[in-house]
Protein backbone atom coordinates (compact mmCIF):
# COMPACT_ATOMS: atom_id res chain seq x y z
CA UNK A 1 0.00 0.00 0.00
CA UNK A 2 2.73 2.43 1.04
CA UNK A 3 4.78 1.82 -2.07
CA UNK A 4 1.67 2.17 -4.19
CA UNK A 5 0.98 5.54 -2.65
CA UNK A 6 4.53 6.63 -3.20
CA UNK A 7 4.39 5.48 -6.78
CA UNK A 8 1.21 7.46 -7.32
CA UNK A 9 2.98 10.51 -5.93
CA UNK A 10 5.96 10.02 -8.22
CA UNK A 11 4.08 9.05 -11.39
CA UNK A 12 1.00 11.22 -11.32
CA UNK A 13 0.82 13.72 -8.51
CA UNK A 14 4.28 15.19 -9.12
CA UNK A 15 3.97 15.85 -12.86
CA UNK A 16 0.39 17.05 -12.38
CA UNK A 17 1.46 19.54 -9.73
CA UNK A 18 4.19 20.89 -12.00
CA UNK A 19 1.79 21.23 -14.95
CA UNK A 20 -0.82 23.00 -12.87
CA UNK A 21 1.84 25.28 -11.44
CA UNK A 22 2.98 26.25 -14.93
CA UNK A 23 -0.57 26.92 -16.09
CA UNK A 24 -1.19 29.13 -13.06
CA UNK A 25 2.07 30.95 -13.70
CA UNK A 26 1.07 31.48 -17.33
CA UNK A 27 -2.28 32.91 -16.25
CA UNK A 28 -0.64 35.24 -13.73
CA UNK A 29 2.03 36.50 -16.13
CA UNK A 30 -0.39 37.14 -19.00
CA UNK A 31 -2.70 39.10 -16.73
CA UNK A 32 0.06 40.95 -14.90
CA UNK A 33 1.79 42.05 -18.11
CA UNK A 34 -1.51 42.71 -19.94
CA UNK A 35 -0.46 40.58 -22.88
CA UNK A 36 -3.10 40.78 -25.59
CA UNK A 37 -4.99 37.60 -26.16
CA UNK A 38 -4.19 37.67 -29.91
CA UNK A 39 -0.56 37.13 -28.95
CA UNK A 40 -1.01 34.80 -26.01
CA UNK A 41 -4.40 34.16 -24.43
CA UNK A 42 -4.42 33.12 -20.76
CA UNK A 43 -5.30 29.48 -20.03
CA UNK A 44 -8.70 30.51 -18.66
CA UNK A 45 -9.62 32.01 -22.01
CA UNK A 46 -8.47 28.90 -23.88
CA UNK A 47 -10.57 26.72 -21.61
CA UNK A 48 -13.53 29.01 -22.15
CA UNK A 49 -13.03 28.76 -25.91
CA UNK A 50 -12.96 25.00 -25.60
CA UNK A 51 -16.26 25.01 -23.73
CA UNK A 52 -18.02 27.64 -25.84
CA UNK A 53 -16.92 26.27 -29.21
CA UNK A 54 -17.03 22.59 -28.33
CA UNK A 55 -19.41 21.75 -31.18
CA UNK A 56 -17.13 23.39 -33.72
CA UNK A 57 -14.06 21.73 -32.22
CA UNK A 58 -15.66 18.30 -32.13
CA UNK A 59 -17.00 18.64 -35.68
CA UNK A 60 -13.47 19.17 -36.85
CA UNK A 61 -11.87 16.71 -34.46
CA UNK A 62 -13.77 13.65 -35.69
CA UNK A 63 -12.55 13.61 -39.29
CA UNK A 64 -8.95 14.18 -38.17
CA UNK A 65 -9.20 11.48 -35.56
CA UNK A 66 -10.83 9.07 -37.97
CA UNK A 67 -8.16 9.58 -40.63
CA UNK A 68 -5.38 9.36 -38.07
CA UNK A 69 -6.61 6.08 -36.67
CA UNK A 70 -7.30 4.64 -40.11
CA UNK A 71 -3.94 5.72 -41.51
CA UNK A 72 -2.22 4.40 -38.41
CA UNK A 73 -4.05 1.05 -38.59
CA UNK A 74 -3.11 0.66 -42.25
CA UNK A 75 0.50 1.47 -41.45
CA UNK A 76 0.56 -1.15 -38.69
CA UNK A 77 -0.91 -3.87 -40.90
CA UNK A 78 1.23 -2.87 -43.87
CA UNK A 79 4.38 -2.35 -41.82
CA UNK A 80 4.15 -5.70 -40.06
CA UNK A 81 3.35 -7.48 -43.34
CA UNK A 82 6.31 -5.93 -45.15
CA UNK A 83 8.51 -6.65 -42.13
CA UNK A 84 7.59 -10.35 -42.34
CA UNK A 85 8.26 -10.39 -46.08
CA UNK A 86 11.70 -8.83 -45.74
CA UNK A 87 12.50 -11.13 -42.83
CA UNK A 88 12.01 -14.18 -45.01
CA UNK A 89 13.13 -12.95 -48.41
CA UNK A 90 16.70 -11.77 -48.87
CA UNK A 91 15.77 -10.43 -52.32
CA UNK A 92 12.94 -8.28 -50.92
CA UNK A 93 15.19 -7.17 -48.09
CA UNK A 94 17.81 -5.95 -50.54
CA UNK A 95 15.10 -4.28 -52.59
CA UNK A 96 13.40 -2.57 -49.68
CA UNK A 97 16.27 -1.33 -47.58
CA UNK A 98 17.43 1.42 -49.97
CA UNK A 99 13.85 2.69 -50.15
CA UNK A 100 13.59 2.64 -46.37
CA UNK A 101 16.86 4.50 -45.97
CA UNK A 102 15.92 7.13 -48.56
CA UNK A 103 12.54 7.48 -46.91
CA UNK A 104 14.30 8.18 -43.61
CA UNK A 105 16.21 11.07 -45.17
CA UNK A 106 13.35 12.75 -47.04
CA UNK A 107 11.16 14.86 -44.77
CA UNK A 108 8.01 13.05 -45.76
CA UNK A 109 5.64 15.90 -45.04
CA UNK A 110 7.34 17.87 -47.79
CA UNK A 111 5.53 15.70 -50.29
CA UNK A 112 2.11 16.70 -48.96
CA UNK A 113 1.53 19.17 -51.85
CA UNK A 114 2.41 16.42 -54.31
CA UNK A 115 -0.24 14.20 -52.78
CA UNK A 116 -2.76 17.00 -53.20
CA UNK A 117 -1.89 17.12 -56.90
CA UNK A 118 -2.30 13.38 -57.20
CA UNK A 119 -5.21 12.63 -54.93
CA UNK A 120 -7.01 15.95 -54.62
CA UNK A 121 -7.86 18.05 -51.62
CA UNK A 122 -9.76 15.50 -49.63
CA UNK A 123 -9.58 12.73 -47.17
CA UNK A 124 -7.61 10.53 -49.55
CA UNK A 125 -4.56 12.78 -49.42
CA UNK A 126 -4.69 13.05 -45.63
CA UNK A 127 -5.11 9.34 -45.22
CA UNK A 128 -2.29 8.48 -47.57
CA UNK A 129 0.09 10.98 -46.01
CA UNK A 130 -0.69 9.67 -42.54
CA UNK A 131 -0.19 6.12 -43.76
CA UNK A 132 3.02 6.89 -45.59
CA UNK A 133 4.87 8.61 -42.79
CA UNK A 134 3.65 6.14 -40.16
CA UNK A 135 4.49 3.15 -42.32
CA UNK A 136 8.28 3.33 -42.35
CA UNK A 137 9.00 3.36 -38.62
CA UNK A 138 6.45 0.59 -38.28
CA UNK A 139 8.27 -1.50 -40.89
CA UNK A 140 11.74 -0.82 -39.56
CA UNK A 141 10.84 -1.59 -35.96
CA UNK A 142 8.87 -4.73 -36.77
CA UNK A 143 11.55 -6.06 -39.10
CA UNK A 144 14.10 -5.58 -36.36
CA UNK A 145 11.84 -7.50 -33.98
CA UNK A 146 11.31 -10.42 -36.34
CA UNK A 147 15.00 -10.62 -37.18
CA UNK A 148 16.73 -10.02 -33.86
CA UNK A 149 16.29 -13.53 -32.54
CA UNK A 150 18.75 -14.50 -29.87
CA UNK A 151 21.19 -16.97 -31.42
CA UNK A 152 20.99 -19.28 -28.43
CA UNK A 153 17.21 -19.37 -28.68
CA UNK A 154 17.39 -20.21 -32.37
CA UNK A 155 19.83 -23.04 -31.62
CA UNK A 156 17.69 -24.31 -28.78
CA UNK A 157 14.65 -24.41 -31.06
CA UNK A 158 16.56 -26.28 -33.75
CA UNK A 159 17.77 -28.83 -31.21
CA UNK A 160 14.15 -29.51 -30.31
CA UNK A 161 13.26 -29.78 -34.01
CA UNK A 162 11.20 -26.64 -34.41
CA UNK A 163 9.79 -26.16 -37.91
CA UNK A 164 10.06 -22.76 -39.64
CA UNK A 165 6.39 -22.26 -38.96
CA UNK A 166 6.85 -22.97 -35.25
CA UNK A 167 9.86 -20.67 -35.11
CA UNK A 168 7.74 -17.93 -36.62
CA UNK A 169 4.74 -18.27 -34.31
CA UNK A 170 6.43 -19.33 -31.12
CA UNK A 171 9.63 -17.29 -31.30
CA UNK A 172 9.76 -14.57 -33.94
CA UNK A 173 6.27 -13.25 -33.32
CA UNK A 174 6.50 -12.84 -29.53
CA UNK A 175 10.03 -11.54 -29.95
CA UNK A 176 8.75 -8.89 -32.36
CA UNK A 177 5.85 -7.69 -30.17
CA UNK A 178 7.83 -5.21 -28.05
CA UNK A 179 9.38 -3.80 -31.22
CA UNK A 180 5.99 -3.57 -32.90
CA UNK A 181 4.66 -1.60 -29.96
CA UNK A 182 7.56 0.84 -29.99
CA UNK A 183 6.91 1.24 -33.71
CA UNK A 184 3.24 1.90 -32.99
CA UNK A 185 4.05 4.59 -30.45
CA UNK A 186 6.18 6.42 -33.00
CA UNK A 187 3.71 5.84 -35.81
CA UNK A 188 0.63 7.15 -34.02
CA UNK A 189 2.39 10.47 -33.45
CA UNK A 190 3.50 10.59 -37.07
CA UNK A 191 0.01 9.71 -38.33
CA UNK A 192 -1.36 12.72 -36.45
CA UNK A 193 1.29 14.95 -37.98
CA UNK A 194 0.51 13.58 -41.44
CA UNK A 195 -3.20 14.31 -41.14
CA UNK A 196 -2.76 17.79 -39.65
CA UNK A 197 -0.17 18.87 -42.21
CA UNK A 198 -2.31 17.64 -45.05
CA UNK A 199 -5.26 19.56 -43.59
CA UNK A 200 -3.08 22.66 -43.37
CA UNK A 201 -2.24 22.38 -47.04
CA UNK A 202 -5.65 21.75 -48.44
CA UNK A 203 -8.80 20.67 -46.71
CA UNK A 204 -12.18 22.05 -45.76
CA UNK A 205 -12.43 20.19 -42.49
CA UNK A 206 -10.37 18.75 -39.69
CA UNK A 207 -8.47 20.16 -36.73
CA UNK A 208 -5.59 21.18 -38.99
CA UNK A 209 -7.96 23.18 -41.12
CA UNK A 210 -9.52 24.77 -38.03
CA UNK A 211 -6.13 25.79 -36.65
CA UNK A 212 -5.25 27.42 -39.96
CA UNK A 213 -8.66 29.09 -40.19
CA UNK A 214 -8.47 30.47 -36.64
CA UNK A 215 -4.99 31.75 -37.38
CA UNK A 216 -6.28 33.59 -40.43
CA UNK A 217 -9.05 35.14 -38.32
CA UNK A 218 -6.53 36.10 -35.61
CA UNK A 219 -8.73 34.11 -33.22
CA UNK A 220 -5.82 32.92 -31.10
CA UNK A 221 -7.95 31.49 -28.25
CA UNK A 222 -9.79 29.25 -30.75
CA UNK A 223 -6.49 28.26 -32.34
CA UNK A 224 -5.02 27.30 -28.98
CA UNK A 225 -8.21 25.52 -27.99
CA UNK A 226 -7.91 23.46 -31.19
CA UNK A 227 -4.26 22.72 -30.46
CA UNK A 228 -5.19 21.67 -26.92
CA UNK A 229 -7.95 19.37 -28.15
CA UNK A 230 -5.54 17.85 -30.65
CA UNK A 231 -2.92 17.31 -27.94
CA UNK A 232 -5.45 15.65 -25.67
CA UNK A 233 -6.59 13.38 -28.49
CA UNK A 234 -2.97 12.51 -29.26
CA UNK A 235 -2.26 11.73 -25.61
CA UNK A 236 -5.29 9.48 -25.40
CA UNK A 237 -4.28 7.54 -28.52
CA UNK A 238 -0.75 7.17 -27.23
CA UNK A 239 -2.01 6.15 -23.81
CA UNK A 240 -4.25 3.48 -25.33
CA UNK A 241 -1.31 1.97 -27.16
CA UNK A 242 0.85 2.09 -24.03
CA UNK A 243 -1.98 0.43 -22.12
CA UNK A 244 -2.25 -2.43 -24.63
CA UNK A 245 1.50 -2.71 -24.68
CA UNK A 246 1.63 -3.38 -20.96
CA UNK A 247 -0.96 -6.12 -21.33
CA UNK A 248 0.42 -7.75 -24.45
CA UNK A 249 4.12 -7.43 -23.68
CA UNK A 250 3.64 -8.49 -20.06
CA UNK A 251 7.12 -9.98 -19.74
CA UNK A 252 8.95 -6.73 -20.43
CA UNK A 253 10.81 -4.54 -18.03
CA UNK A 254 8.09 -1.89 -17.56
CA UNK A 255 6.42 -4.37 -15.23
CA UNK A 256 9.84 -5.07 -13.69
CA UNK A 257 9.41 -1.80 -11.86
CA UNK A 258 6.05 -2.75 -10.40
CA UNK A 259 7.42 -6.23 -9.63
CA UNK A 260 10.26 -4.84 -7.57
CA UNK A 261 7.89 -2.46 -5.81
CA UNK A 262 6.00 -5.42 -4.37
CA UNK A 263 9.13 -6.85 -2.73
Amino acid sequence: MGTKGRRFAADIAGPAAISIGMIVLWEVIVRALHIRSIILPPPSEIIMAMVDRRDLLLTHLWPSLYLTVLGFALSVVGGVAVAILITYSAALRKGFYPIIIVSQVIPKISIAPLFIVWFGTGTMSSLLLAFLIAFFPMTINSALGFQSIDEDIARMARTFMASDWQVFWKIRMPNALPYIFSGMKISITLAIIGVIVSEFVASQEGIGYLIKLAGGLLDTPLMMAAITVLSIAGLILYGLIAHFERRVVYWQSSSDISGSGGG
Binding site: D152, M156, T159, F160, Q166, K170, P174, W251
Partner: protein, 266 residues
Protein backbone atom coordinates in the same frame (compact mmCIF):
# COMPACT_ATOMS: atom_id res chain seq x y z
CA UNK B 1 10.21 -40.36 -4.58
CA UNK B 2 8.66 -42.21 -7.49
CA UNK B 3 10.70 -42.11 -10.64
CA UNK B 4 9.30 -39.79 -13.25
CA UNK B 5 9.70 -42.28 -16.00
CA UNK B 6 10.72 -45.85 -16.13
CA UNK B 7 13.38 -46.56 -18.68
CA UNK B 8 11.48 -47.54 -21.75
CA UNK B 9 11.32 -51.20 -22.54
CA UNK B 10 14.01 -51.69 -25.11
CA UNK B 11 14.49 -54.75 -27.25
CA UNK B 12 17.54 -56.70 -26.17
CA UNK B 13 19.30 -55.89 -29.42
CA UNK B 14 19.03 -52.13 -28.74
CA UNK B 15 20.00 -52.50 -25.12
CA UNK B 16 23.20 -54.16 -26.20
CA UNK B 17 24.04 -51.29 -28.55
CA UNK B 18 25.93 -48.30 -27.25
CA UNK B 19 23.56 -45.37 -26.77
CA UNK B 20 26.00 -43.18 -28.60
CA UNK B 21 28.81 -44.08 -30.87
CA UNK B 22 31.26 -41.60 -32.36
CA UNK B 23 33.62 -43.21 -34.87
CA UNK B 24 36.74 -41.50 -36.23
CA UNK B 25 35.06 -38.13 -36.39
CA UNK B 26 36.94 -35.22 -37.86
CA UNK B 27 35.66 -31.67 -38.18
CA UNK B 28 37.06 -28.87 -40.30
CA UNK B 29 35.71 -25.34 -40.13
CA UNK B 30 36.94 -24.25 -43.55
CA UNK B 31 40.72 -24.46 -43.08
CA UNK B 32 40.60 -24.81 -39.30
CA UNK B 33 40.79 -28.32 -37.97
CA UNK B 34 38.67 -28.29 -34.80
CA UNK B 35 38.51 -32.03 -34.24
CA UNK B 36 41.19 -34.32 -35.58
CA UNK B 37 40.03 -37.77 -34.70
CA UNK B 38 37.60 -38.65 -31.96
CA UNK B 39 36.09 -42.03 -31.27
CA UNK B 40 33.85 -42.54 -28.30
CA UNK B 41 31.26 -45.01 -27.17
CA UNK B 42 28.76 -44.28 -24.45
CA UNK B 43 26.74 -47.13 -22.98
CA UNK B 44 23.02 -46.98 -22.24
CA UNK B 45 22.38 -44.86 -19.14
CA UNK B 46 26.04 -44.05 -18.72
CA UNK B 47 27.09 -40.62 -17.46
CA UNK B 48 30.15 -39.45 -19.38
CA UNK B 49 31.93 -36.13 -18.99
CA UNK B 50 34.06 -34.47 -21.63
CA UNK B 51 36.89 -32.54 -20.10
CA UNK B 52 39.21 -30.37 -22.14
CA UNK B 53 40.76 -26.95 -22.58
CA UNK B 54 38.82 -24.04 -23.98
CA UNK B 55 38.51 -24.11 -27.74
CA UNK B 56 39.42 -27.78 -28.11
CA UNK B 57 36.17 -28.65 -29.82
CA UNK B 58 33.87 -29.92 -27.04
CA UNK B 59 30.91 -27.81 -28.12
CA UNK B 60 31.60 -28.71 -31.72
CA UNK B 61 31.40 -32.41 -30.87
CA UNK B 62 28.20 -31.95 -28.88
CA UNK B 63 26.61 -29.90 -31.67
CA UNK B 64 27.41 -32.68 -34.13
CA UNK B 65 25.91 -35.30 -31.81
CA UNK B 66 22.78 -33.11 -31.57
CA UNK B 67 22.57 -33.17 -35.36
CA UNK B 68 22.97 -29.43 -35.80
CA UNK B 69 26.34 -29.68 -37.51
CA UNK B 70 27.73 -32.17 -39.99
CA UNK B 71 31.07 -33.80 -39.33
CA UNK B 72 33.67 -33.67 -42.09
CA UNK B 73 34.62 -37.32 -41.72
CA UNK B 74 33.54 -40.28 -39.63
CA UNK B 75 30.20 -41.39 -38.29
CA UNK B 76 28.01 -40.60 -35.31
CA UNK B 77 25.14 -42.87 -34.41
CA UNK B 78 22.54 -43.00 -31.69
CA UNK B 79 21.19 -46.43 -30.78
CA UNK B 80 22.69 -47.70 -34.00
CA UNK B 81 21.10 -45.11 -36.30
CA UNK B 82 23.39 -42.58 -37.96
CA UNK B 83 22.71 -38.96 -37.00
CA UNK B 84 21.63 -36.89 -39.99
CA UNK B 85 19.81 -34.07 -38.23
CA UNK B 86 18.13 -33.11 -34.97
CA UNK B 87 16.06 -35.89 -33.51
CA UNK B 88 13.58 -36.29 -30.67
CA UNK B 89 15.80 -38.69 -28.71
CA UNK B 90 18.04 -35.76 -27.84
CA UNK B 91 17.62 -33.38 -24.94
CA UNK B 92 20.03 -30.50 -24.66
CA UNK B 93 21.06 -28.15 -21.88
CA UNK B 94 23.12 -25.13 -22.84
CA UNK B 95 25.58 -22.95 -20.98
CA UNK B 96 22.82 -20.37 -20.55
CA UNK B 97 19.28 -21.41 -19.59
CA UNK B 98 17.88 -20.00 -22.89
CA UNK B 99 14.32 -19.78 -21.61
CA UNK B 100 11.71 -17.86 -23.58
CA UNK B 101 11.01 -14.72 -21.53
CA UNK B 102 7.32 -14.59 -22.48
CA UNK B 103 6.56 -18.12 -21.33
CA UNK B 104 5.97 -19.25 -17.79
CA UNK B 105 8.39 -21.79 -16.39
CA UNK B 106 5.88 -24.58 -16.98
CA UNK B 107 5.31 -23.50 -20.58
CA UNK B 108 9.04 -23.25 -21.12
CA UNK B 109 9.47 -26.78 -19.85
CA UNK B 110 6.68 -27.94 -22.17
CA UNK B 111 8.23 -26.21 -25.18
CA UNK B 112 9.81 -29.36 -26.68
CA UNK B 113 6.51 -31.19 -26.17
CA UNK B 114 4.79 -28.51 -28.20
CA UNK B 115 7.43 -28.48 -30.91
CA UNK B 116 7.31 -32.26 -31.24
CA UNK B 117 3.49 -32.05 -31.39
CA UNK B 118 3.08 -34.40 -28.45
CA UNK B 119 -0.17 -34.18 -26.45
CA UNK B 120 0.40 -31.36 -24.00
CA UNK B 121 -2.16 -32.56 -21.47
CA UNK B 122 -0.39 -35.86 -21.07
CA UNK B 123 2.92 -34.14 -20.40
CA UNK B 124 1.80 -31.52 -17.88
CA UNK B 125 1.95 -33.95 -14.93
CA UNK B 126 5.38 -35.09 -16.01
CA UNK B 127 6.59 -31.50 -16.35
CA UNK B 128 5.25 -30.71 -12.88
CA UNK B 129 6.97 -33.77 -11.46
CA UNK B 130 10.26 -32.71 -12.99
CA UNK B 131 9.82 -29.20 -11.61
CA UNK B 132 9.09 -30.65 -8.19
CA UNK B 133 12.19 -32.76 -8.42
CA UNK B 134 14.18 -29.66 -9.32
CA UNK B 135 12.48 -27.91 -6.37
CA UNK B 136 11.01 -25.14 -8.51
CA UNK B 137 7.42 -26.35 -8.81
CA UNK B 138 6.33 -23.29 -6.82
CA UNK B 139 7.51 -21.24 -9.76
CA UNK B 140 5.66 -23.16 -12.48
CA UNK B 141 3.49 -20.16 -13.21
CA UNK B 142 6.26 -17.55 -12.90
CA UNK B 143 8.12 -15.89 -15.71
CA UNK B 144 11.84 -16.67 -16.12
CA UNK B 145 12.90 -13.20 -14.97
CA UNK B 146 11.38 -13.92 -11.56
CA UNK B 147 13.83 -16.78 -10.99
CA UNK B 148 17.49 -16.80 -10.01
CA UNK B 149 20.14 -18.00 -12.44
CA UNK B 150 20.40 -21.38 -10.76
CA UNK B 151 16.63 -21.86 -10.77
CA UNK B 152 16.48 -20.97 -14.45
CA UNK B 153 19.15 -23.49 -15.28
CA UNK B 154 17.23 -26.13 -13.33
CA UNK B 155 14.16 -25.27 -15.40
CA UNK B 156 16.18 -25.74 -18.55
CA UNK B 157 17.25 -29.19 -17.33
CA UNK B 158 13.57 -30.03 -16.83
CA UNK B 159 12.90 -28.82 -20.36
CA UNK B 160 15.62 -31.07 -21.75
CA UNK B 161 14.09 -34.06 -19.98
CA UNK B 162 10.38 -33.44 -20.52
CA UNK B 163 9.98 -35.41 -23.74
CA UNK B 164 11.89 -38.30 -22.21
CA UNK B 165 14.87 -38.25 -24.57
CA UNK B 166 17.26 -41.16 -24.62
CA UNK B 167 20.32 -38.93 -24.49
CA UNK B 168 20.92 -35.78 -22.54
CA UNK B 169 23.63 -33.46 -23.86
CA UNK B 170 24.87 -30.78 -21.49
CA UNK B 171 27.33 -28.12 -22.59
CA UNK B 172 28.92 -26.53 -19.51
CA UNK B 173 25.48 -26.10 -17.97
CA UNK B 174 26.72 -24.81 -14.62
CA UNK B 175 29.61 -22.62 -15.72
CA UNK B 176 27.57 -19.41 -15.49
CA UNK B 177 26.74 -20.09 -11.83
CA UNK B 178 28.63 -19.21 -8.68
CA UNK B 179 30.67 -21.94 -7.00
CA UNK B 180 28.21 -22.75 -4.21
CA UNK B 181 25.20 -22.95 -6.51
CA UNK B 182 27.30 -25.00 -8.87
CA UNK B 183 28.05 -27.72 -6.31
CA UNK B 184 24.43 -27.79 -5.31
CA UNK B 185 23.33 -28.11 -8.94
CA UNK B 186 25.62 -31.09 -9.41
CA UNK B 187 23.92 -32.88 -6.54
CA UNK B 188 20.50 -31.91 -7.91
CA UNK B 189 21.38 -33.14 -11.36
CA UNK B 190 22.47 -36.50 -10.00
CA UNK B 191 19.26 -36.78 -8.01
CA UNK B 192 17.15 -36.09 -11.09
CA UNK B 193 19.27 -38.43 -13.15
CA UNK B 194 18.97 -41.17 -10.55
CA UNK B 195 15.18 -41.09 -10.87
CA UNK B 196 15.26 -40.60 -14.59
CA UNK B 197 18.01 -42.71 -15.98
CA UNK B 198 19.43 -41.33 -19.21
CA UNK B 199 22.60 -41.47 -21.16
CA UNK B 200 24.36 -38.21 -20.38
CA UNK B 201 27.20 -36.47 -22.17
CA UNK B 202 28.33 -33.62 -19.97
CA UNK B 203 30.88 -31.02 -21.06
CA UNK B 204 32.81 -29.21 -18.36
CA UNK B 205 36.03 -27.40 -17.57
CA UNK B 206 35.94 -28.50 -13.97
CA UNK B 207 37.88 -31.61 -13.05
CA UNK B 208 36.08 -31.95 -9.72
CA UNK B 209 32.68 -31.58 -11.34
CA UNK B 210 33.54 -34.22 -13.93
CA UNK B 211 34.79 -36.65 -11.29
CA UNK B 212 31.84 -36.04 -9.00
CA UNK B 213 29.15 -36.58 -11.62
CA UNK B 214 30.47 -39.17 -14.00
CA UNK B 215 30.74 -42.87 -14.51
CA UNK B 216 33.55 -42.10 -16.91
CA UNK B 217 35.60 -39.01 -17.74
CA UNK B 218 36.95 -38.48 -21.23
CA UNK B 219 39.84 -36.01 -21.51
CA UNK B 220 40.30 -34.20 -24.79
CA UNK B 221 43.58 -32.60 -25.86
CA UNK B 222 44.20 -29.20 -27.33
CA UNK B 223 42.78 -28.37 -30.76
CA UNK B 224 42.68 -30.23 -33.07
CA UNK B 225 40.97 -32.49 -30.57
CA UNK B 226 41.74 -36.08 -29.91
CA UNK B 227 40.93 -38.12 -26.84
CA UNK B 228 44.01 -38.31 -24.66
CA UNK B 229 42.70 -40.14 -21.61
CA UNK B 230 39.66 -42.02 -20.39
CA UNK B 231 39.07 -42.77 -16.75
CA UNK B 232 36.30 -44.77 -15.15
CA UNK B 233 35.17 -43.23 -11.88
CA UNK B 234 34.39 -46.16 -9.68
CA UNK B 235 32.66 -44.44 -6.80
CA UNK B 236 29.39 -45.55 -5.23
CA UNK B 237 26.08 -43.92 -6.06
CA UNK B 238 23.98 -42.09 -5.03
CA UNK B 239 26.67 -39.49 -4.45
CA UNK B 240 26.43 -36.68 -1.95
CA UNK B 241 28.50 -33.54 -1.72
CA UNK B 242 30.40 -35.16 1.20
CA UNK B 243 31.95 -37.44 -1.38
CA UNK B 244 34.24 -34.59 -2.38
CA UNK B 245 35.95 -34.91 1.01
CA UNK B 246 36.60 -38.57 0.34
CA UNK B 247 40.16 -39.68 -0.29
CA UNK B 248 39.12 -41.97 -3.16
CA UNK B 249 37.40 -39.06 -4.87
CA UNK B 250 40.45 -36.86 -4.49
CA UNK B 251 42.65 -39.57 -5.87
CA UNK B 252 40.58 -39.48 -9.06
CA UNK B 253 40.80 -35.72 -9.19
CA UNK B 254 44.56 -35.82 -8.86
CA UNK B 255 44.88 -38.53 -11.49
CA UNK B 256 42.74 -36.55 -13.91
CA UNK B 257 44.70 -33.39 -13.28
CA UNK B 258 47.92 -35.24 -13.94
CA UNK B 259 46.53 -36.67 -17.16
CA UNK B 260 45.45 -33.23 -18.32
CA UNK B 261 48.75 -31.61 -17.44
CA UNK B 262 50.65 -34.35 -19.23
CA UNK B 263 48.61 -33.92 -22.38
CA UNK B 264 48.47 -30.15 -22.42
CA UNK B 265 52.08 -29.73 -21.50
CA UNK B 266 52.15 -26.70 -19.22
Amino acid sequence: MAPVSQTKEMPAAVRALPALSVRKVRKLYNELEAIKNVSLEVAQNEFVSLLGPSGCGKSTLLTMIAGLLKQTEGEISINGTPVTGPRPEIGMVFQQPVLLPWRTILDNVLFPVELLKLPRDKYVPRAMELLAMAKIDDFAGSLPRQLSGGMRQRASICRALVHDPAILLMDEPFSALDALTRDEMGVELLRIWQANRKTVVFVTHSIREAAFLSDRVVVMGRRPATIVEEMTIDLPRPRQISLTEDENFNRYVRALRKAIEASHGH
